[in-house]
């Protein structure tokens, strides 16, 4: 049952994409929406079928030999780390499609891109084979680049290329690390495998070979740099504002809500298990970078005149917090990070959705073209205030649960970090309120805005659903935390014990 769902989530969207190409143009949007809703419907049995009491074992495992000579398999599985992100992907896909409803440039290909992207993203989260993961990881770039480069705004080519080069540079480093792991395993056991849990048993030499770094450090940084680019962590973030600003609304939503999450997911799934000692050594460095990123992102966001840029820089700040939570190496921080990952997907996804709503009508993202909208489109304003509250972690909504856990964990790890981290809370309010002030409040300055339409059902339904999730996570996050509890509670124990057992290399 579980396996069937996992495979369907990976395959259905691709089938849907082919159907779109075969079918008439008129049906393209509806087909895409239907497929995405089907995937969303499938995640309901997935939620209930997922056993939240198991910790280390992948559930719903599918394993089909792929390249037997190299021990590579098409292997899928789900555990507490990937579970929430898979659900998030299914939730955001129909919303992204609805946000792209009015695109007139080649809608068939446009919709197909979304579906293919969804397949690859889900695959990335589900892959339990390192090579399969890498394939999905790289393949995902293609539909995303197309989305930015073909359906983006004026400077889309530049943004797409920049996005590609940044992430690809990271991917190359990761490939090096993958190959290293793979070969080391072969030499140590004589068997070839790409199974993730098997590969964590590899013992890497501790002899420094390059600038005082040993092999484990290099493997660790190979993975970590790739993931930190994706997060993106200061100072590797500069591709993000360009990509977000140029991407079409639906692309921005998926980019923010799902793609960035792969960075933090990757850290937890690969970097830390493969390089637990290196991580302990470098965690303070990464934590400091996250702190800088939290404040820096907030500072820069505050100055933006373009709504999408503001939201993009706010992502730099928020994801800095997520990485900080991981660097605490304790349970509270980790739980907070995992929750905040989801929160950021919901709130930033919603923000891009709402910015896109204005852009569709006015073709402007500049604050100077707005102001006083609260009097004109009250429902829109209501939801924007709500989403802003979620984003700046007003307690009772989702953001607070994540932020508080992260900061509590950070405090346990190092009170000074927490002291700087709470400043991020203050600055977060600053740019979020600026966003509200410049769009909703003040007098109506542009007469064109008087003809703005308020939300229709196509916008209201997704926003209500997102708002319900924000409230649900804010008020009773247990429905999510309980499913991941064993995974999280054992997380910091796992890599250490594995290392202790294996001892020194021969």
């Amino acid at each position: 049952m579980m396996s069937a769902i996992l495979v369907s989530l990976c395959v259905l969207p691709i089938i849907g994409a082919s159907l779109i190409f075969l079918g008439p143009e008129k049906l393209a949007r509806k087909t895409a929406l239907a497929v995405s809703l089907l995937c969303l419907a499938l995640s309901i049995p997935l939620y209930f079928g997922f056993d939240g009491t198991q910790s280390q074992i992948f559930q719903g495992v599918v394993s089909i030999p792929w390249v037997p000579a190299l021990g590579i398999k098409f292997a899928l599985g789900i555990d507490g780390l990937s579970f929430p992100l898979v659900l998030l992907t299914q939730l955001m896909l129909p919303i992204a499609i609805l946000a792209s409803w009015h695109e007139e440039r080649n809608p068939k290909a446009f919709m197909a891109c979304f579906l293919v992207l969804s397949s690859f993203m889900t695959g990335t989260f589900l892959a339990t084979d390192l090579f399969l993961f890498y394939v999905f990881w790289e393949a995902m770039l293609i539909p995303m680049i197309l989305l930015i480069g073909v359906w983006g705004s004026q400077e889309r080519i530049y943004a797409a290329l920049k996005f590609f080069l940044f992430t690809f540079a990271g991917s190359l480093l990761m490939l090096l690390a993958v190959v290293t792991l793979f070969v080391s395993y072969k030499t140590q056991t004589g068997v070839m495998t790409a199974d993730i849990s098997e590969l964590t048993k590899v013992v890497l030499s501790k002899e420094p070979i390059l600038f005082g770094l040993n092999i484990q450090d290099l493997v660790f940084w190979g993975f970590t740099l790739a993931f930190l680019v994706k997060v993106p962590l200061f100072p590797l973030h500069t591709w993000l504002p360009d990509a977000h600003v140029q991407a079409p609304t639906g692309g921005s939503i998926l980019l923010a809500a799902v793609l960035l999450k792969m960075g933090t997911y990757g850290l937890l799934r690969f970097s830390i298990p493969f390089g637990s000692e290196s991580f302990s050594r470098f965690a303070p460095l990464i934590a400091v970078l996250s702190l800088v990123g939290i404040l820096y992102g907030a500072f820069v966001a505050f100055q933006q005149q373009d709504m999408k840029k503001l939201v993009a820089y706010s992502s730099v700040s928020h994801l800095g917090l997520v990485v900080l939570g991981i660097c605490t190496q304790n349970l509270e921080g980790l739980t907070g990070s995992v929750i905040q990952n989801i929160n950021h997907g919901l709130s930033t996804g919603a923000l891009f959705f709402m910015v896109g709503f204005l852009y569709d009508q006015r073709h402007s993202r500049l604050f100077s073209d707005y102001g006083g909208l609260a009097a004109l489109i009250p429902w829109y304003s209501f939801f924007l205030v709500l989403v802003a509250c979620s984003s700046m972690a007003v307690p009772g909504l989702n953001g607070f649960v994540g932020e508080m856990l992260i900061l509590l964990g950070t405090f346990e790890a190092n009170p000074w970090w927490a002291g700087i981290g709470v400043l991020g809370v203050v600055f977060g309010a600053l740019y979020t309120l600026t966003l509200l002030k410049k769009t909703l409040f003040g007098p109506v300055t542009a007469n064109e805005n008087r003809s703005l339409k308020d939300l229709s059902w196509r916008e209201t339904v997704p926003l209500i659903i997102l708002a319900l999730f924000m409230l649900w996570i804010g008020l009773a996050p247990g429905f999510l935390i309980n499913k991941m509890k064993p995974t999280l509670e054992n997380y910091w124990k796992k890599p250490q014990s594995a290392y202790a057992m294996s001892g020194n290399p021969k």
Binding site: L175, Q303, V426, G478
Partner: protein, 622 residues
């Protein structure tokens, strides 16, 4: 009790959206009245017997050893707070029906107001720090929305934003305090924290001081103390009933409540208490001086609120928690009364707030004038009205703690009487100097005034100080199960009876002085301040806003601009692009990048694989 206002808020804000002020207002008012009656019932339960609290909880955040619950506890302290909130709150809701009658779309206003009452009740009945924080930030949010209620005016939207941001600075302190508490006690539950402190004294006193200090920073934000008080005067941009409810009677007192709630912690932290006491006194003095020279009727009351809150904080610093709470209650009555009275005046004068353009309103606004006078006498500390008793209890505590604190407190009390009678004289006495045609407000507005006036006159007898030992102190007795009464120790510089005589005499004197000087004002040019040489300083509020602007706001903007305009595009992005350009030239692969991504991809992949193998060989893994 708590559900009613929440439902009222949802019904008004999301479902009905009635454009008629009367319908929305009636619904909201009924919701708060229902809540008030529930609070009364709960009060009767906890008041009887030993005062066992009523508890409720369900899970919220649970992971590992961390267990944060939605815990609510209704004990005697909560009952006092919730009676004030719903009691004063329902009167203010009633008043708002009249005040907002000319507004279109006031459903939004009533929805926010109901939501505020709900969150305020969450705050005072929360059983742990995290649940309290929900109310704490929530009321801040409502305050932000209500200050900026007339959002078309950018100044008002800005005032709301300032309030929220300054509060957020306090909230950051609150969070840190919460983390320190968690580290110290392993729980956020008030009862467990307090019990742990009572049970053993082995806690690190230094850490306790730090925790208390950070929590106090949170309180300075919410309760408008130096250095974070600057948002409150600006918050007067909101509708006047909002100022009465949020910025005088309830929300701003939540900092006082927080410290009283954690009384066992704060009793121990001597160093922090010194900071608290002097911060409170400093705030009280500063605001009282500023209040003597303001021209805006609401600004005078706002600075007066800051000053009175300072007195409460002073009491907290002297460990006189019951005294602080008692002043909180009486202040809620008379300050709400004064704000509503000023609202009635502003309503009558069609929005005029400058007291130099008022005067003589006694005749046209008889009810407002009389009730305002009751409020003025009460706050001035003239016996036997409420303010006299509560203020005297605080001054007595200050006298016990430190003679300097008492002197400061006496100066504040004297100034209070002075600026309040100045305000009363300029508004209601003398001759009318404005152009509008003042008229008395409708009954929905005057009825709350009358009720509050009665409360302001008589509430003092609930907590009569010990100097009058023949009348029992009901208030202290009632709170005994939650907060042990204040203990008298040490020798005094002057006897407490002498002290009381001195301060009361000074209050009478300065009241009379203000009456004599300001009741004769005839033209708008009449001098409205006594302290000529300092008038400029007071009128410009010691240039604190300007100072903060120069110290924090402008540097922040400059750094932010520097990052956004130079560091990000030029240094970081530029640096990375430069690297990539160099790499491209070095490898001579510029053409590859531009002709086709696939080739570039494959090429680099090859390099990667080869490089990886090379590294492996060098590492002698194989």
């Amino acid at each position: 009790m708590m559900v009613a206002p929440l439902l009222g808020s949802i019904a008004n804000g999301l479902v009905l959206r009635s454009s008629e002020a009367k319908r929305a207002g009636t619904l909201a008012t009924v919701a708060v009245f229902v809540s008030f009656f529930c609070a009364l019932i709960l009060f009767s339960q906890v008041a009887s017997g030993a005062g066992e609290p009523i508890e409720m909880s369900w899970p919220w955040i649970q992971i590992g050893n961390l267990n944060i619950e939605w815990g609510f506890r209704f004990d005697r302290l909560t009952s006092v707070m919730s009676l004030v909130i719903t009691g004063v709150g329902s009167l203010i809701h009633l008043y708002s029906i009249g005040y907002m009658s000319h507004e279109k779309g006031s459903y939004r206003y009533f929805a926010y107001l109901n939501l505020f009452v709900f969150l305020m009740l969450v705050l005072v009945s929360a059983g742990n720090l995290a649940a309290l924080f929900v109310g704490w930030e929530g009321v801040g949010l409502c305050s932000y929305l209500l200050i900026g209620y007339w959002f078309e005016d950018p100044e008002k939207a800005k005032a709301g934003m300032k309030a929220f941001l300054v509060n957020r600075i306090g909230d950051a302190g609150f969070l840190m305090g919460m983390f320190f508490c968690y580290q110290l006690f392993g729980t956020l539950d008030f009862q467990k924290i307090n019990a742990a402190i009572d049970a053993q004294s082995g806690f690190n006193i230094q850490l306790m001081n730090i925790a208390a200090f950070f929590l106090f920073v949170g309180a300075t934000g919410k309760s408008a103390q130096v250095p974070l008080y600057v948002w409150l005067p600006d918050a007067m941009a909101g509708p006047t009933p909002v100022s009465a409810l949020i910025h005088a009677a309830t929300m701003v007192t939540s900092g006082i409540y927080l410290i009283a709630r954690l009384e066992p912690l704060f009793v121990m932290t001597t160093d922090t208490n010194t900071v608290i006491a002097f911060t409170g006194l400093g705030t009280a003095l500063l605001a009282a001086f500023i209040a003597t020279s303001q021209r805006d009727i609401k600004k005078v009351l706002a600075y007066s609120t800051v000053s009175q809150l300072g007195l409460m904080v002073l009491a907290l610093g002297c460990r006189a928690y019951v005294a602080a709470l008692f002043h909180l209650v009486t202040h809620a009555f008379f300050k709400a009364l004064l704000f509503l009275g000023s609202g009635s005046v502003i309503h009558a004068l069609e929005g005029e707030q400058d007291i130099s353009k008022m005067g003589g309103l006694r005749k046209s606004l008889p009810v407002t004038s009389l009730t305002f006078l009751a409020g003025t006498v009460a706050i001035a500390g003239i016996p036997p009205l409420a303010g006299f008793f509560s203020k005297d209890t605080i001054l007595h505590a200050a006298l016990v703690a430190d003679f300097r604190l008492w002197i400061g407190g006496a100066v504040v009390a004297t100034l209070t009487a002075f600026y309040m009678f100045r305000l009363y004289s300029l508004t209601f006495l003398g001759t009318y100097r404005g152009k509008a045609h003042p008229h008395e407000s409708p009954w929905v507005m005057t009825l709350p005034l009358v009720i509050l006036a009665v409360a302001s006159v008589f509430a003092g007898f609930l907590g009569v100080p010990h100097e009058f030992h023949w009348i029992p102190n009901f208030f202290e007795e009632y709170l005994k199960p939650v907060i042990p009464p204040y203990e008298f120790e040490g020798t005094l510089a002057i006897s407490s009876h002498q002290a009381m005589l001195i301060t009361t005499g000074l209050a009478f004197l300065s009241s009379a002085l203000a009456l004599v000087i300001f009741s004769r004002a005839k033209s708008t040019e009449t001098k409205i301040s006594l302290f000529r040489p300092f008038q400029m300083v007071f009128e410009n509020r010691f240039w604190v806003d300007e100072l903060y602007g120069a110290l924090f706001v402008r540097p922040f903007q400059a750094i932010s601009k520097f990052f956004a305009a130079i560091v990000d595009p030029k240094v970081i992005d530029g640096g990375i692009l430069l690297m990539s350009r160099a790499a491209k030239r070095l490898g001579g692969v510029v053409v590859l990048v531009q002709t086709g991504n696939v080739q570039w991809y494959l090429f680099l992949m090859m390099i990667g694989v080869v490089g990886g193998l090379f590294l492996l060989l060098r590492g002698r893994v194989i």
